[in-house]
Amino acid sequence: MSIGENLERYVACHNCDLLHHRVDLDPGATARCRRCGTRLYGNRAGRINQAFALTLASVLFFLLANAFPFLGVEVQGARQEISALSAAVSLFERDLTGLGLFAMAVIFIFPLIQLAGMLAVLGPLSQGRPGPMARRALRAVSTLAPWNMVGIYLLGVLISLVKISAMANVTLGIAFWAFVALVACNLWAAFLIDRDELWQQLETAA
């Protein structure tokens, strides 16, 4: 196979490195690696607007999740109320500074950067043009992706709730539901977006 000048016409499988010609796909179709079956790219075009709307909703839920009471516990008249970040703050208070920073990062800081990044990418793209910071933003989003642990944190919250509700009254605040909605929107947006397509669009719309 002799490779032509235009490398844009080829795709390498990120799992087995095999080279493929890039083909035009029907909407909804998926291109898979000839050798190992890994998904290479797809055609989910037209979902940019939906994904952008979801990202905006996610920002709203993120703000709500941090501005309102998250959970409340009551036992024999003694009451304790916490915010979404109280878990991280309580680690700081116990001199577990490193762990507290890590928790702040994966529950708050990185998800926030990812939301801002996706806005910077999807906003301009929904109007057919690449944003000025879009490439750096999408690169940051990709790098931070494995370190966004809001879903894992939510599971931790659910487990804690079940553990406590046996011995105490638990109240679920507005922030709790906003947090659930945030995780749901993140998941949904991830289904709608194909990162390879975003990169292609950023390049061709330039």
Binding site: M1, I3, L7, E8, Y10, V11, A12, H14, N15, C16, D17, L18, L19, R35, C36, G37, T38, L71, V73, V75, Q76, A78, R79, Q80, I82, S86, A87, A88, V89, S90, L91, R94, L96, G98, L99, A103, R135, R136, L138, R139, S142, T143, P146, M149, I152, Y153, L155, G156, V157, I159, S160, V162, K163, I164, A166, M167, R195, D196, W199, E203
Partner: protein, 208 residues
């Protein structure tokens, strides 16, 4: 017949955005023209980094299980729990579902990660009869479930924040929580430094 991989064709794909580049002679990493990340044919020092991080993770897993991860005081009565004893307590109190979830996240997943990464590394050093495609799928599965082990750290931190009810009940984090969080982080980094394409490179080598 040598399959045409990017590497065989003198190309390298950016691992962030996928754009193909011609490799410069001498293997000096280029900057991706599209996104600015470093472009290499294979992850640098993949095997060495993965081994080093894996061993570090194993060493951290010992104190994570030996030392207590949580200390509770109920009506003045103190109680310390390690990860394992915590799971047993959950089971004895009838919270079967949670005990299973915590067991999976804190014991099964880390051990599986260690075993899978060791197996993948050894299969590159020594070869193995398992098909490369299956090994890559195993790798990707390991990559995805790895972070979920962090759930126990969040549970402890949440309970510490929630259960501060004076003399009735209070919870404090144990030493093991730092070791455990560090172990999960380090094994995540170990999985990230492993390059699955090496598995196919090895398969091509052994067939020639």
């Amino acid at each position: 017949m040598t399959p045409t991989t990017a590497r065989n064709a003198g190309l390298a794909a950016c691992r962030v955005c996928g754009k193909l580049h011609r490799l410069a002679a001498g293997g000096v990493p280029r900057r991706c023209q599209r996104c600015g990340s470093a472009v290499r044919s294979r992850r640098r020092y993949s095997l060495q980094n993965t081994w080093a991080l894996l061993v570090t993770g194993l060493l951290l897993y010992l104190p994570a299980n030996i030392f207590p991860i949580m200390e509770t005081q109920t009506f003045g009565r103190p109680e310390e729990n390690t990860i394992i004893s915590g799971i047993l307590v959950l089971w004895e109190h009838g919270s079967y579902a949670i005990a299973v979830v915590v067991f999976l996240a804190s014991m099964v997943v880390p051990v599986l990660k260690f075993l899978v990464l060791i197996f993948l590394l050894m299969s590159i050093h020594r070869g193995s009869p398992v098909a490369a495609g299956d090994k890559v799928r195993l790798y990707r599965l390991t990559e995805v479930i790895g972070p979920w082990s962090m759930v126990d750290v969040f549970v402890v931190a949440l309970l510490v924040a929630l259960i501060q009810l004076g003399g009735i009940a209070s919870v404090r984090p144990g030493v093991a929580i730092v070791a455990f969080a560090a172990m999960v982080t380090v094994t995540m980094l170990a999985a990230m430094s492993f390059d699955p394409r090496l598995l196919w490179d090895k398969a091509e080598q052994t067939h020639d």
